[in-house]
Amino acid sequence: MPMNKPVSADQNPQPSAAVAAQIDALVARYPNPASALMPSIWAIMDELGFVSPAGVDLLTQKLEVTRARVQEVLTFYTMFRSEPQAQYVLQVCHNISCHIMGARTLIAHLEKRLGIRLGETTPDGKFALEGVECLGACGMGPCLQLGKHLYEHLTCDRVDELLESLRRGEVPRADTERELEA
């Protein structure tokens, strides 16, 4: 998921040579080329934020798999995207534990603040709001994911702070980032 990148107007960007090289390395690492498909898709996702048609071409060439196979995999997994995404995709867990702890209230609050319904993107392409299944933070819910960042123990106030920071272009520290000794 793109973090600080603006939404690409380009619907068909070409993955860079660096990504192509990354895919070559993955193919060498995995026991057969096709099993490197998911990590190769991730390599493209990490650079472009989605897998463009040019990305699909690259995958079919490098991994010796059919276009149908690539499409099948792209559409099966919810984290893989085939279209440009909003700059900040806010994914709120709406599963059972978070629901018990107030996820619905949080979603309603986000809908109001962003002026969009669940599943929509703001007209400026900056924010998208999605409901997702359990994020593995059930005891720390309600929670929300933004790319690699997981925010836990959320309240309406904390969500407001988060939106403020994002509007300034700052992605706050995730709750999963602990103080670690080097």
Binding site: I41, W42, Y77, N95, I100, R104, C134, G147, T176
Partner: protein, 432 residues
């Protein structure tokens, strides 16, 4: 309340992820011992004797599963299942976050036991930060000679690949997991053949949960008898429970199997937060039958006791439900989940989860009738035990138990709405 730290000795620390710290505290000694002895069968035997049961949900004895790999197989693969997607479960995440080397050492020993030369650690894609942490540990282990060619001069080779998932609950099912790494949709395959005989690329493959694998170094270091000294006869050892809901102290706990729920709830979790009363508990992740407060207070937390009580230990994802929660609303949340996550191969699962979800939604819209409750039961009967993988059962178990144990709530909703007429019941943003 005694503390147990077979698995959690480095939890909460800011340095527990480092190889140097792990080594200082006796890490990788079990691996040295095992490779020094050079006897894979002995490792399998030790784990079998310890009675370690798979912590991913099914509780199948780990050592016994390892024994299913055909003797002398040339190519064997090992998968560490860190897909952790069962709602209510967040324990493997902490194991890998605070102590990645423990799981890694367990992985290397397990691979030696089944003579696998390539292992995948399959981590759900949502755990982006965790993938970095585990990869860093893997890199450290390579640099220190615990991975790669000729590990510690033993002649044993092992490569480990950290594989990132991409958001699909069904990839936690072992054959779905294998298909996913093969670069396909993560749809489960019909068993038999079991993966231990024909799995990844058609070769013998063992899939084990993170917690199962993480328990192995301790068992090697301390011996099967010490492991059996904790827990019960048929459920030896400790188990991680991840607790969510409005209790005073939610979080991940390592408890001896067999601990009475009452004691766990009152002494460890501190009971409910002020103002909430206990209504029900789902003890083992969203897929197992719910127990009303009066029943759960009398169970012990081990595989047999929970089975006798009509539920399952599952993944240990304990969801505590307060009196203030509407059970029909909660089952709608769950039925949405299973409907969303059904991989769609089996008609009873694909159609059944859809029906269950739609009927519950209809009830919640205020359009339900008494016949709908019979229809829910009827649809469940058409799903249970009739599918390729247990996801259909995983939807049926909560549905049946919610309906069975909390039927008056369903009936009251139907009665009330028959008078009041249809209404929207979410605050906003109808869940489709």
């Amino acid at each position: 309340m005694k503390e147990y730290n077979i698995l959690t000795s480095r939890f909460g620390r800011s340095d527990g992820h480092k190889l140097a710290v792990y080594e200082q505290e006796g890490g990788y000694q079990a691996l040295r011992r095992v490779l020094g002895q050079g006897d894979p069968a002995a490792v399998r035997e030790t784990v079998k004797e310890a009675g370690l049961r798979g912590r991913g949900g099914a509780g199948f004895p780990t050592g016994v599963k390892w024994g299913f790999v055909p003797q002398g197989a040339e190519e064997v693969y090992f998968f560490v299942n860190a897909d952790e997607s069962e709602p209510g479960t967040f324990k493997d995440r902490l194991l890998l976050d605070y102590d990645p080397h423990q799981t890694l050492e367990g992985t290397i020993i397990s691979c030696f036991a089944v003579q696998a030369k390539l292992a995948f650690i399959y981590i759900r894609g949502e755990f982006g930060w965790l993938i970095d942490r585990v990869q860093a540990a893997v890199d450290e282990a390579y640099a220190a000679g615990y991975l790669g060619k000729n590990i510690l001069g033993s002649g044993f080779d092992l490569e480990v690949i950290v594989h990132k998932g991409a958001g699909a609950y069904i990839c936690g099912e072992e054959t779905g997991l294998i298909n996913s790494v093969e670069g396909r949709k993560g749809q489960p395959s019909i068993k038999p053949p079991f993966p231990a005989v024909a799995g990844f690329l058609g070769k013998p493959t063992i899939v084990n949960n993170v917690e199962s694998v993480a328990s192995v170094p301790w068992i090697i270091n301390n011996g099967p008898q010490a492991y059996r000294a904790v827990g019960t006869e048929k459920s030896p050892g400790t188990k991680l429970f991840s607790v969510s809901g409005p209790v005073k102290k939610p979080g991940v706990y390592e408890i001896p199997l067999g601990l009475p729920f009452r004691e766990f709830f009152n002494d460890w979790l501190g009971g409910m937060v002020e103002g909430e009363q206990l209504k029900a508990v789902i003890v083992g992740g969203s897929s197992v039958p719910v127990l009303p407060a009066a029943e759960v207070m009398n169970v012990n937390l081990d595989y047999e006791s929970l089975q006798q009580a009509g539920t399952m230990l599952g993944s240990g994802g304990m969801i505590v439900i307060p009196e203030s929660c509407d059970m029909v609303e909660l089952i709608q949340v769950l039925m949405h989940f299973y409907y969303d996550e059904s991989c769609g191969q089996c008609t009873p699962c694909r159609e059944g989860t859809g029906w269950l979800h739609r009927i519950v939604k209809k009830l919640r819209r205020g359009e339900g009738t008494a016949e709908d409750l019979d229809l829910l039961a009827y649809v469940c009967n058409g799903m249970a035990g009739l599918t390729i993988c247990p996801l259909a059962d995983a939807a049926v178990m909560p549905m049946r138990s919610f309906l069975g144990k909390f039927r008056p709530e369903f009936e009251a909703l139907i009665r009330e709405t028959a008078v009041a007429g249809p209404q929207t019941r979410w605050p906003r943003g109808e869940q489709e």
